[in-house]
């Protein structure tokens, strides 16, 4: 007992020293884990801020980068079968080029695999050689866009004109239905996209309203096709 009394202060200070070391270790590990957790959250938030800021810049810039872009592209490639507008456009430039369309028929093709649904417009026409070439060239500059499928052009027996059998294909594609998640980065339109858009804006637009789908019609008058990923 007497020995214990002698060593008690040693034991007490030893215990205190050990306790302080333990407290220091605990505090150290607590601060390290708390700060690293805060840093992880901060890095993630900073990344979000960076993505959102660039997204904001792209979206704010869109009206000046591509005015009426959605409307122009939707007219060029509609969301529904627009073959009547295509026929109307064909007749319009046929008249402009003094071409006589003698017969015309339509054949629809359903979408298969990666191929878009389309309508093949087959027609016969007559006109002068120069006008016929100008007419065919005009078809490639029409909205909705039409792809030449076949052309068989032959000069008439009198040699004054040509008669032709032609097939052009007009396609359509459903509207996209999903928006990217808000934390996903989005890029501004590339130079290639801008160039294509500028070419599309030079296409001959339909003159009457019912075939023209504006960008607004994708969300106004119809159910909004988009769902937002969060």
């Amino acid at each position: 007992m007497k020995q214990l009394k002698v060593y008690r202060p040693v034991l007490i200070y030893g215990f205190l020293t050990a306790a302080f070391v333990m407290i220091l270790l605990f505090l150290g590990s607590y601060f390290i884990s708390t700060l690293s957790e805060i840093n992880v959250q901060k890095a993630s938030l900073n990344q979000d801020v960076e993505v959102l800021t660039s997204r904001l810049a792209v979206l704010k810039d869109l009206p000046s980068a591509a005015p009426n872009g959605a409307s122009i592209t939707l007219t060029a490639l509609p969301s529904e079968n627009n073959s009547l507008v295509a026929v109307s456009q064909l007749r319009r430039i046929a008249t402009e080029n003094e071409i006589t369309i003698k017969s015309l028929d339509l054949a629809a093709t359903l979408a298969t695999g990666t191929l878009l649904p389309s309508v093949l417009i087959n027609f016969d026409f007559e006109g002068t050689a120069v006008n016929s070439i100008s007419f065919i060239a005009g078809i490639t500059k029409l909205a909705p866009i039409m792809v030449i499928d076949t052309v068989s052009l032959q000069s008439t027996a009198d040699g004054n004109g040509v008669s032709a059998i032609m097939g052009v294909r007009t396609q359509w594609a459903e509207l996209p239905t999903a928006l990217p998640a808000i934390t996903e980065p989005i890029a501004a339109l590339s130079d290639e996209e801008q160039l294509l858009l500028s070419r599309l804006s030079e296409l001959t637009q339909p003159v009457f309203g019912q075939g023209v789908e504006s960008s607004e019609s994708a969300s106004v008058g119809k159910a909004d096709p988009f769902t937002t990923a969060q």
Binding site: L24, Q41, K42, V58, L77, I133, V147, Q171, A218
Partner: protein, 175 residues
């Protein structure tokens, strides 16, 4: 001469080494106590500042996020625009007939007025163009014009015939 007198019982006297250990332990416990206080105060202050900073970043994120959400209509336009452009580009890249027609048009644009169009066929990525001329010179001029023009597609002569009724008939394969 002064003498050190120990009044404690002998069994309560600490050894020198124990005394040294005690003083070391005393000093280290005081030092550690101070260190704990300093570390705790500094650590909590730093954590507080970092949390404040985190809250500010969070507020900034929420502000930008709400601004982005306010522009959802623009985002729909962009998604729609990009979707259409990608599909139109695909349609154009798969279109083999239009480039062939454009090539034939370049040939016709370079043809003198004496050269007339006989036939033109475009189908499944191949095309042929028949040109007719009363004399051979306009056809020579056409070839010369094409050589000096920007025409750069493969072009081959399929047949070249002379007919008393129609004159020279040149069939070109345009690919």
């Amino acid at each position: 001469m002064s003498q050190t007198i120990n009044l404690l019982p002998i069994d309560l006297v600490r050894g020198k080494e124990v005394g040294k250990l005690l003083s070391v332990l005393k000093a280290s416990s005081i030092f550690l106590c101070a260190l704990v206080l300093v570390v705790a105060i500094a650590g909590f202050a730093f954590v507080y500042l970092q949390k404040n900073d985190l809250t500010q970043v969070q507020t900034r994120r929420d502000t930008v996020r709400s601004e982005v959400l306010a522009l959802e209509e623009s985002e729909k336009q962009l998604v729609l625009l990009r979707d259409r452009l990608a599909k139109i580009e695909k349609i154009r890249s798969e279109d083999t007939s239009t480039p062939l027609f454009e090539a034939q048009k370049i040939i016709l644009d370079n043809a003198p007025v004496e050269v007339t169009l006989g036939e033109s066929d475009i189908n499944a990525g191949t095309s042929s163009l028949t040109l007719v001329s009363q004399s051979i010179d306009p056809l020579r001029t056409l070839i010369a014009n094409l050589e000096s023009s920007s025409y750069d597609r493969p072009l081959s002569i399929s047949t070249f015939t002379l007919n008393a009724l129609v004159g020279y008939k040149l069939v070109l394969l345009v690919n």
